[in-house]
């Protein structure tokens, strides 16, 4: 029970201090709005095209929502040494890092539903398979958050966290099949697409919203869960190696 009091309070503090701040909320709303508008105008089609845009916009909202805040806040706390306070608390490292990441996962998941809310007013979403879409959004949020954590542990400065995040994020956007189908990518780049968790997340979302997934959904879920576990445990190992010297 005591460790869950610690878990809940770490999560609540992070939500209050970082995620529920006006700049983050406005970023969380503005970002999907701009992406929807951009894709919509570019497509030149009617509101029906919004369904086709949703998987990409949702995936981007989650990716940016999770990695931006988490990698920066963890680096910031590490630099200010307040993270030491958490490492000295009598809770396991696994639980501590779950507490630190749950805020980002929730924030990313909520971000993903902003485009859905907008789309609800503009188009018919009755064909959406919610029982597949919701877990897919959560898994994209988890994998992106753990990627953010991996980045945070790899750097020392806040600006490095931002730069390093972009180093991963932008190639991911172009390689995960959002803008171009993976099949149309140069042969040499295709293997890279398949080692990105976002590729599988986007495929599940596409399947859930438009029914046009390119891979078997079971495989998509398996691979993205595998990525989440690998990223989490590799990051824990890195924390043990780098922060508990």
């Amino acid at each position: 029970m005591k460790k869950w009091i610690a878990f809940w309070n770490i999560l609540a503090k992070d939500m209050r201090s970082y995620y529920l701040k006006p700049p983050n909320i406005s970023w969380g709303l503005l970002f999907p709005l701009v992406w929807i508008a951009m894709f919509f105008i570019r497509s030149g089609l009617g509101f029906e095209s919004i369904t086709g845009l949703l998987p990409g916009v949702m995936a981007l909202s989650v990716l940016f929502g999770t990695t931006s805040v988490l990698s920066v806040t963890v680096t910031f706390e590490k630099k200010g040494r307040s993270f030491e306070r958490l490492l000295l608390a009598p809770i396991s490292l696994e639980l501590l890092m779950l507490a630190k990441t749950t805020g980002a996962i929730l924030f990313g998941t909520i971000n993903a539903f902003v485009p859905i809310l907008i789309a609800l007013f503009l188009t018919d979403l009755s064909a959406v398979n919610w029982s597949i879409m919701v877990p897919a959004v959560v898994l994209i949020a988890v994998s992106s958050t753990f990627l953010g954590l991996f980045i945070a542990v790899s750097v020392k400065e806040v600006f490095e966290a931002q730069t390093f995040s972009n180093f991963f994020r932008f190639p991911m956007i172009f390689l995960c099949g959002l803008f171009f189908p993976i099949a149309s990518l140069p042969l040499v780049l295709r293997p890279l697409s398949y080692i990105l968790p976002l590729t599988y997340g986007v495929d599940i979302l596409r399947g859930a919203i438009t029914g046009k997934n390119s891979m078997y959904l079971g495989l998509d879920f398996f691979v993205i869960i595998f990525f989440c576990l690998v990223l989490f445990f590799v990051t824990l190992k890195n924390i043990n190696r780098k922060w508990i010297t």
Partner: protein, 337 residues
């Protein structure tokens, strides 16, 4: 030899912390080398040494923030090298720099720290109020920690360290870089905590502070413990020593060298505003004043002084304590705002 004596007593039942052959190396630098000591329940144990001596590295290993390369740490019977988390609920830590959350208020910081130890809401709020009152921070309870003065930050950091009623409190340089009044208050708080039963591990470079607060002291230099003993035993080393301090308004550079060359039974070292001369025999002041004046120094005062723990420290480690203090103050002023 005294260190060995300490090791032999570490097995006693009243020991709360036992450390044996603790070693830590960073790349090619040995930060801590085969140190051994024990802390008895209810004592204030001082850990004294210059910058880079290995004080903070030792605290980090004891608290689980750093892994030793070799050696044993036992806290309240728990093997803290194998299971560093097992004793963390027993210990409180006040690091050398305040590391609370600048965006939270003093009250919220304390409540958050209490929650990390699993304290329930009502319990942690009551404890936070009690500590804010005790540390004279009641009026600043709802102000953001980032806006506190340096002294207030130190006090709240100590309050955060004891929020969960730890059995052992690690204090790393608690009074460095803060004003005299706050430092005095903090020393009183440390003393009160100890009277209440908290065992205290104190690192400091203020030798007079250690002398006032601690029962036993370890001198650590270049990662090795030079000496561990009680204040009484350490001070006995100064018995039969005679010390005279000359106040000199000019530059004292080179004066000690000339004094030692002329009077071979004397030891001399520069101190702030003059030189300090020591001997095992009574010191004749006249010839010394003449020598100093012949060297062009203007002597305004010659005062016989009682030898202090600082003299013992200098004697054992060969390190000038005043310089150590100034160096640390400079670092602190530059590092913490």
């Amino acid at each position: 030899m005294r260190m060995q004596e300490s090791i032999q007593t570490t097995g006693s039942r009243e020991s709360l912390i036992d450390v044996t052959n603790l070693t830590k190396t960073f790349d090619d630098i040995t930060a801590v080398s085969e140190i051994a000591f024990s802390l008895k329940k209810g004592e204030i144990f001082g850990f004294l040494g210059p910058n880079g001596a290995g004080k903070t590295t030792t605290i980090n290993m004891l608290t689980g923030l750093s892994r030793p390369d070799a050696g044993m740490i036992t806290i309240a019977g728990q093997d803290c090298v194998k299971y560093p988390k097992k004793a963390q609920h027993l210990i409180g830590i006040v690091p050398d720099e305040s590391n609370l959350y600048p965006e939270l208020s003093g009250f919220d910081n304390l409540c958050f720290c209490a929650a990390l130890y699993g304290m329930r809401k009502q319990e942690r709020q009551e404890r936070a109020r009690e500590l804010l009152e005790k540390f004279g921070l009641k009026d600043a309870a709802h102000r953001k920690f980032g806006g506190y003065s340096r002294g207030m930050k130190r006090k709240l950091t100590i309050a955060a360290g004891i929020i969960h009623h730890p059995q052992i409190l690690f204090l790393d340089e608690p009074t460095t870089g803060i004003d005299v009044a706050s430092a005095r208050q903090i020393r009183q708080l440390i003393s009160d905590l100890n009277s209440g039963g908290t065992t205290i591990f104190l690192t400091t470079h203020y030798i007079e502070e250690a002398e006032r607060l601690c029962g036993r002291i370890a001198f650590i230099v270049q990662g090795r413990i030079a000496r561990i003993d009680t204040i009484e035993n350490l001070m006995q080393q100064t018995q039969g020593r005679h010390v005279v301090q000359f106040a000199i308004s000019d530059n004292t550079a080179g004066l000690c060298k000339n004094i030692i060359a002329e009077f071979q039974d004397l030891q001399c070292r520069p101190v702030a505003g003059g030189v300090r001369v020591e001997s095992s025999r009574p010191i004749r002041v006249g010839p010394l004043v003449r020598l100093l004046e012949d060297e062009g120094a203007e002597v305004s005062e010659a005062r016989k002084i009682r030898p202090t723990l600082e003299d013992v420290f200098v004697q054992i480690t060969g390190i000038e304590a005043g310089m150590m203090k100034q160096e640390k103050e400079k670092m602190k002023m530059g590092g913490e705002s």
